[in-house]
C-alpha cells in the first residue's frame, strides 16, 4: 500500500478517470497553468492539455453553467470551485439547473457532473472563507453530497462521483489536503451512500464526516482512558445516506452524538438526530446530542475561532454528560 496525501489521492482519482474517458474534463480557476490553487490538479495540464484542463476567469456562475450545459449533451465535467465559499455565486446553477435538470425534463437529461473543491472551516481565514456548506447542498434533492475524511476514501469516492450520472457535490476538506494515509495501489471505488465504522465501541455512537472525524477520533482516545468505549460512524456521503449503519450502531450503543463542522440551525446533524429518534427511538438511553460550529459567523481572532469550532474536548465533555 502506498502512503498518499489526501490531495494526491484526489489527483490520482481524476487522472485515472480522465485517462479512461475522453468526455471528462476539469474546469475551474487556476486548475491548469497554476497547477491548482490547492495543487489538487498538479501536473494535469501537462498530461491532458488545455482542451481538457481548462482555466477560467473568475466567474463561478458562468463556468458552473458551462459545466451543466455541457453535461446536458454528454460531457462529464469536473468543475472545481477554488473553495466552496465561492460556490454561492453559482448556487443558482447548482440547484436550479444541475439538481433539477433530470427531474424537470422527465428523465431526459441526466447530469454527470462533479462540483468539487475545498470546503470547511478554520485556519484563521475569517467569516467569508471559513464555513462548511454541506448542509446547504444536502438540503436539495437531485444532488449527491460527498465529504471524504481520509485519502483512501477521497480516492474511492471521487472515482464513484465522476462515474455517477448525477450531479455530485464533492466537498474536500481544506485542512485535510496535506494529511496522509494508506491508499491501496490497486484501483478501487467506494459506492456513494456507504458509510464506514472508523472505530468500534460499545458505549456511544459518534456520527460524523469529513474533518470532524478527527475531532471524534481524538475524543475517543481521551475517553478510552476513562473507560468509555466510543464507536465512530463516518458517513462519507450525506446524500445518499447510510441510514442503516447509523441505526445498527445506535442499537448497540444506545446513545448517539453528531459531530459536524457546520452551523447547528437546520444543519445536517438535525436531520440525523430526527432520523435516529424516529427509527430507533426505543433503543435510546439519552436524547441525541450535537456538537457543531457555534451559531455565529467565523471570527478571525484565534481564540474565538478556536471557541467557535467543534473540537475533541467539546465532544468528550458532551459524551461524559450523556453517560452520567
Amino acid at each position: 500500500m502506498a502512503v498518499l496525501t489526501y490531495r494526491e489521492a484526489l489527483n490520482r482519482a481524476m487522472v485515472e478517470e480522465m485517462e479512461k474517458d475522453p468526455l471528462i474534463y476539469l474546469m475551474g480557476e487556476e486548475v491548469g497553468h497554476y497547477q491548482g490553487a490547492y495543487k489538487v490538479s498538479q501536473g494535469m495540464l501537462d498530461k491532458f492539455g488545455e482542451a481538457r484542463v481548462i482555466d477560467t476567469p473568475i466567474s463561478e456562475n458562468g463556468f458552473a453553467g458551462i459545466g451543466v450545459g455541457s453535461a446536458m449533451v454528454g460531457l462529464r465535467p469536473i468543475i472545481e470551485f477554488m473553495t466552496w465559499n465561492f460556490s454561492l455565486v453559482a448556487i443558482d446553477q447548482i440547484i436550479n439547473s444541475a439538481a433539477k435538470m433530470n427531474y424537470m425534463s422527465g428523465g431526459q437529461f441526466p447530469m454527470p457532473i462533479v462540483f468539487r473543491g475545498a470546503g470547511g472551516a478554520g485556519g484563521r481565514l475569517g467569516a467569508q472563507h471559513s464555513q462548511a456548506f454541506e448542509s446547504w447542498y444536502a438540503h436539495c434533492p437531485g444532488l449527491k453530497v460527498v465529504c471524504p475524511a481520509t485519502p483512501k476514501d477521497a480516492y474511492g469516492l471521487l472515482k464513484s462521483s465522476i462515474r455517477d450520472n448525477n450531479p455530485t457535490i464533492f466537498i474536500e476538506s481544506e485542512v485535510l489536503y496535506g494529511s496522509k494515509g494508506e491508499v491501496p495501489e490497486q484501483e478501487y471505488t467506494i459506492p456513494l451512500g456507504l458509510g464506514e465504522i472508523k472505530r468500534k465501541g460499545t458505549d456511544i455512537t459518534i456520527v460524523t464526516w469529513s474533518r470532524a472525524l478527527s475531532f471524534a477520533e481524538e475524543a475517543a482516545v481521551i475517553l478510552e482512558k476513562e473507560g468509555i468505549s466510543v464507536e465512530i460512524v463516518d458517513l462519507r456521503s450525506l446524500r445518499p445516506l447510510d441510514e442503516n449503519l447509523i441505526y445498527e450502531s445506535v442499537k448497540k450503543t444506545n446513545r448517539a452524538i453528531v459531530v459536524e463542522e457546520g452551523w447547528p440551525v437546520a444543519g445536517f446533524g438535525a436531520q440525523i438526530s430526527h432520523l435516529i429518534q424516529k427509527n430507533v427511538f426505543s433503543y435510546l438511553d439519552h436524547p441525541v446530542e450535537r456538537v457543531t460550529q457555534m451559531d455565529v459567523p467565523m471570527s478571525y481572532a484565534a481564540n474565538l475561532e478556536r471557541m467557535s469550532l467543534p473540537n475533541a474536548n467539546r465532544v468528550a465533555d458532551t459524551i461524559r454528560e450523556m453517560l452520567r
Binding site: 458562468g62 463556468f63 449533451v73 443558482d92 436550479n96 439547473s97 425534463s105
Partner: protein, 328 residues
C-alpha cells in the same frame, strides 16, 4: 407597411412555411390561454404572441444537429423547432404524455431528440448553459451551433456577462438572441438598461453584433443565418438584438397596465403574421389558400387540446422518479 414581395416560387413556399409555423404558435397559445382561463393549465403561462417571427426566423437557419436553449417563454421556440403541439399541450396540462412527462410545465419544455435543450425559469441562468452546450460541440469537434434566446431584462444579470465573456474568449459556436420586447415584466427598458441598445454590449466582449427589427420573418432568418454560419466556421459567437413586442401581458396574470393602448395598437399594426400574410398575397397566394391553412392548423390545435385533455396524469409513482438518473 413597407412589404417585400417574395421574388420566386421558392421564396414564396418558404415564406408560406414560416407563416404556417407562426400561425401554429399563435393558435397554440390562444388555445393555451383559453385552457388557462378555465383552470386546465396551472402555474405561470407566458405567451409569445407578437414575437413569433423571431423564433421562427431564427430557428429556420438551424440544422437538426444544432441546439436551442430557451426561457420560460418557450412555446414558440419549441413549435418552431418542429415539436408536435400535442405533447406540448399535454405538458401544459401536466399530463404523462407531455414532452417533459408532466414534470416540467409551461416553463420547462425539453426534447432531447430535437436538441431542444429546455425552457429555463431563472432569468439569464440559461445563457451560460447555452455557452456550455456550445463548449461541448467545440470540445467534441462537432459543427453544431447553439442558439440561446433571452429577453432584454436578462441582459442585466451576471450570467449574461459571464456567459458572453466565456463564449467570446473560447470562440464558442453560439448565437445569443436577445428578444427585446421592451419590457421585463412591468419594467420598461429605459428603467433597466443604462444603454438602450443591448447589442452594443457585444463590443465589451469583442464579439460580433447585429440589431434588427423582428416583424419580418425572412429578415430575421437572413440575419441569424449570418451569425449561425459564422459560429459554424469557428469564428465565434454573435449577440443579436431583435426588436419585438409581446401583445399580451408578461404572463396570464399580468394585465399590462404599464403600457398604453396606443403603444400596443401601434405594434399590432406591425404584427408579423399580418405582414407575412400580406406578403404571401402579394407573392400570388390566394387568400382562400391561406384561410385553408389556418383552418387546418386550428384542427391540429383542437386535436392537441383533446389529446392533452384525454391523456392521463402522471402516475403517482413518478413523484420519486427522475430525482436521480436511472442506472445505465
Amino acid at each position: 407597411m413597407v412589404s417585400s414581395i417574395p421574388k420566386d416560387s421558392q421564396s414564396v413556399s418558404e415564406l408560406q412555411e414560416f407563416y404556417r409555423q407562426m400561425v401554429l404558435i399563435r393558435k397554440f397559445e390562444e388555445a393555451a390561454a383559453k385552457a388557462y382561463s378555465v383552470g386546465k393549465i396551472g402555474g405561470f403561462l407566458h405567451l409569445y404572441i407578437g414575437q413569433e417571427a423571431v423564433g421562427v426566423g431564427s430557428i429556420a437557419s438551424l440544422t437538426p444537429h444544432d441546439y436551442i436553449v430557451s426561457t420560460y417563454r418557450d412555446h414558440g421556440h419549441a413549435l418552431a423547432r418542429g415539436l408536435h403541439p400535442s405533447p406540448l399541450m399535454a405538458e401544459l396540462f401536466g399530463k404523462a404524455t407531455g414532452v417533459s412527462k408532466g414534470n416540467g410545465g409551461s416553463m420547462h419544455f425539453f426534447d432531447k431528440n430535437a436538441h431542444f435543450m429546455g425552457g429555463h425559469g431563472i432569468v439569464g441562468g440559461h445563457i451560460s448553459l447555452a455557452a456550455g452546450i456550445a463548449f461541448a460541440s467545440k470540445y467534441r469537434k462537432e459543427d453544431s451551433v447553439t442558439i440561446c434566446f433571452f429577453g432584454e431584462g436578462a441582459a442585466n444579470i451576471g450570467s449574461f456577462h459571464e456567459g458572453l465573456n466565456l463564449a467570446a474568449i473560447w470562440k464558442l459556436p453560439v448565437v445569443f438572441i436577445c428578444e427585446n420586447n421592451h419590457y421585463a415584466m412591468g419594467t420598461p427598458e429605459y428603467r433597466a438598461l443604462a444603454v438602450k441598445d443591448v447589442s452594443v454590449r457585444a463590443y465589451a466582449y469583442d464579439m460580433a453584433r447585429d440589431h434588427i427589427e423582428g416583424d419580418e420573418v425572412r429578415k430575421v432568418r437572413d440575419h441569424v443565418k449570418v451569425a449561425v454560419d459564422r459560429a459554424r466556421r469557428g469564428e465565434g459567437p454573435t449577440l443579436i438584438e431583435v426588436s419585438t413586442y409581446r401583445f399580451r401581458g408578461h404572463s396570464m396574470s399580468d394585465p399590462a397596465k404599464y403600457r398604453t393602448k396606443e403603444e400596443l395598437d401601434a405594434y399590432k399594426k406591425k404584427d408579423p403574421l399580418m405582414r407575412a400574410r400580406h406578403e404571401l398575397e402579394l407573392g400570388g397566394i390566394k387568400p382562400e389558400v391561406l384561410d385553408k391553412l389556418e383552418i387546418d392548423i386550428q384542427t391540429q390545435i383542437d386535436e392537441a387540446y383533446a389529446f392533452a385533455e384525454n391523456s392521463p396524469e402522471p402516475p403517482l409513482s413518478q413523484l420519486h422518479k427522475y430525482v436521480y438518473a436511472e442506472d445505465k
